[in-house]
């Protein structure tokens, strides 16, 4: 078996022109598919960054909310009612809103302000500098150290600024798991300070973060919240809802899907066609092998090997190229949202297997059909 695979390998790679064309086709398809889906998953991850970073198990919100940034304020009684639901261990308010910061050098910069519950500071980020208790100090803010922090001029503890005409001062620097989609810096403060500094409507609670007594209690909590006319979503459900919004309501998902399908089709037609010509060109030789005494199954292995080998090399090249470009892009553009996940890689792998599978199926059918007698007759 090893010997005939070696023959198959030589037949393939010695045909340099076709082999290159095959690799280009697959590499191109993999590159584009991984790139597209990575950008998409990067955007999805960033769009859910607040949900990921705060880590609450259950989120209560207005049913019309479809992404974190556009929260719809809820009246205080909702918080009280949620707290009284059976199975709720505790529930805290969260403020999330936008504000305008004026830096010392006079530059304006918009920011996201997250106001954490004053009593518990539930969901507060991990500090790399400063102490979390300092958040209670007058004018205190904690800045998130992510790709956007440069837009605030790399503040340090003690840096001050104006926020909606109030004085603000940095008391800590935090690190979070995911940075946001909109390319603006994030400041954390307390809930009470946030609603004091930022002009708001009559209602001020953006979200209610709920910690259930156990995960079994969640369905009951959801049911009760629904009776109030609000919606309680688990972390995953909320992220899914946000993802669905970007996928189906913004056109982003459809466009990426179309691009992915097109990349697949282009890669498939280039490689599939080339492989088909490769098989056709060698068809008589495969027939001669059959006449000499190669079994049908051996010819099948040869073709499968050729298709799989090319597919795997092309996959490796495509993924490598994609990683390289994303890495370079991230060096130049800190906000570049592309995120190669195992799902993305798995998806591209699966598509490449389909390309290899269909190509080899067609090749195998051709090769199994040739009659050595026809080769013999010339």
């Amino acid at each position: 078996m090893k010997g005939i695979l070696r023959i198959a390998f030589k037949l393939l790679v010695n045909d340099k022109g076709k082999y290159a064309a095959l690799l280009v086709g697959i590499t191109f398809a993999v590159f584009l598919m991984v790139q597209m889906t990575s950008i998409f998953s990067g955007i999805l991850m960033k769009s859910s960054s607040t949900v990921i970073n705060l880590g609450a198990q259950v989120w209560v919100m207005d049913p019309a909310v479809n992404n974190v940034a556009s929260s719809i304020p809820m009246p205080d009684y909702v918080l009280d009612t949620v707290r009284s639901i059976d199975g709720v261990k505790y529930a805290v308010p969260l403020y999330s809103g936008a504000a305008l910061v004026k830096l010392r050098n006079g530059i304006f910069q918009s920011v996201t302000v997250v106001g954490l519950d004053d009593n518990s500071l539930f969901g507060h980020p991990e500090l790399v500098e400063g102490k979390i208790e300092d958040i209670y100090a007058e004018n205190a803010f904690i800045v998130v150290e992510d790709a956007e922090i440069r837009k605030l001029g790399y503040p340090t503890v003690g840096t001050d600024f104006e926020l909606n005409d109030h004085r603000g001062v940095i008391v800590g620097i935090a690190r979070v798991a995911a940075s946001g989609l909109f390319g603006i810096p994030t400041l954390y403060t307390t809930y009470s300070k946030a609603i004091q500094y930022i002009p708001s409507t009559r209602f001020t609670i953006s979200y209610i973060l709920v910690e259930p007594k156990s995960s079994d209690a969640i369905p009951h909590i959801q049911q009760q919240v629904k009776r109030l006319g609000y919606e309680a979503l688990t972390k995953d459900e909320f992220m899914q809802k946000i993802a669905n919004y970007y996928k189906y309501q913004t056109g982003l998902g459809t466009n990426i899907l179309i691009m992915t399908v097109v990349s697949f089709l282009v890669g498939f037609s280039v490689s599939g066609q080339t492989f088909y010509t490769f098989i056709l060109e060698n068809l008589e030789k495969f027939g001669a092998l059959k006449a000499i005494g190669a079994k049908g199954s051996e010819l099948v292995y040869m073709i499968l090997f050729q298709a799989m080998f090319t597919a795997m090399i092309g996959y490796g090249l495509g993924v490598g190229l994609c990683t390289l470009i994303i890495t370079i892009a991230k060096l130049r553009i800190p906000d570049y949202s592309a995120n190669i996940t195992y799902t993305t890689l798995g998806f591209a792998f699966f598509m490449v297997l389909i390309i290899a599978g269909i190509s080899s199926y067609i090749g195998i059918r051709k090769v199994l059909k040739i009659e050595p007698f026809d080769i013999f007759r010339g």
């Binding site: 078996m1 090893k2 010997g3 005939i4 070696r6 023959i7 030589k10 037949l11 010695n14 045909d15 060698n282 008589e284 030789k285 027939g287 001669a288 092998l289 059959k290 006449a291 000499i292 005494g293 190669a294 079994k295 049908g296 199954s297 051996e298 009659e371 050595p372 007698f373 080769i375 013999f376 007759r377 010339g378």
Partner: protein, 231 residues
């Protein structure tokens, strides 16, 4: 003497109904070890078809082919492939060498199909290329060789597995007269031995002198067997 090939009442037809034509019709003959048997006849008389049937390439509609006490057409397809690999060497009219492999790799193919070790197969193939006088061309691709040299590569590939039966279809058709005669001379002196039976289909009367026996076909039937010039 035990025949190398014993063909009995072979028939092969193509098409059905009005279109049914016999390519081989009631053919019975024996071929012996140590002989070169020519099969001659006009175009369309069934020579290639007959050769294919006796070498395990084309299944007849009726009749039997017994080689080495085995009725080959009673075997399963994979067993017939194995039989061809072990017992028969083929030299096709247009050689069918792989252009992307070296001549040594081309010649080694039967051994590799027999699952012999790669390096050993290449060594053995090189030895056979030396026998056919191409020891200095083992690393070249076949397209770099002349027609006569390619023919010899094809012969080396047919010989490398040391088959009992050698099958040549029109071996000299694409060679000039001199080269053709040289190839036949080589076959006669170096390839033929008393454990081997060689069947050659040809139109080329220039090489009839190398035949031990000549079998004449017409319309799918054997119309006579005579002794060749070399007897």
């Amino acid at each position: 003497m035990n025949p190398a090939i014993s063909a009995n009442e072979l028939a092969k037809w193509f098409g059905e109904g009005d279109l049914k034509t016999y390519a081989v019709n009631d053919v019975t003959f024996e071929a012996y070890f140590g002989e070169i048997l020519f099969i001659v006849g006009p175009s369309g008389s069934g020579k290639t078809t007959l050769l294919s049937i006796v070498s395990g390439i084309l299944r007849p509609n009726s009749g039997t082919v017994v080689i080495d006490n085995v009725d080959i057409w009673k075997l399963e397809p994979d067993q017939i492939a194995q039989f061809r690999l072990n017992k028969v060497g083929f030299v096709f009219q247009d050689y069918h060498l792989f252009p992307r492999l070296t001549t040594a790799e081309n010649v080694a193919i039967p051994l590799i199909l027999m699952k012999k070790d790669w390096d050993e197969s290449i060594r053995e193939a090189t030895r056979y290329l030396e026998i056919v006088g191409l020891g200095n061309k083992v690393q070249l691709p076949p397209v770099k060789l002349s027609g006569g040299e390619q023919q010899r590569v094809a012969i080396a590939r047919a010989l490398v597995s040391q088959p009992d039966i050698l099958i040549f279809d029109e071996p000299t058709a694409s060679l000039d007269g001199d080269t053709g005669r040289r190839v036949m001379e080589f076959v006669k002196t170096n390839v033929l031995n008393d454990k081997r039976c060689i069947l050659i289909v040809t139109h080329d009367s220039r090489i009839f002198e190398y035949a031990d026996r000549i079998m004449k076909m017409e319309d799918g039937r054997v119309v006579g067997i005579e002794k060749g010039a070399s007897h």
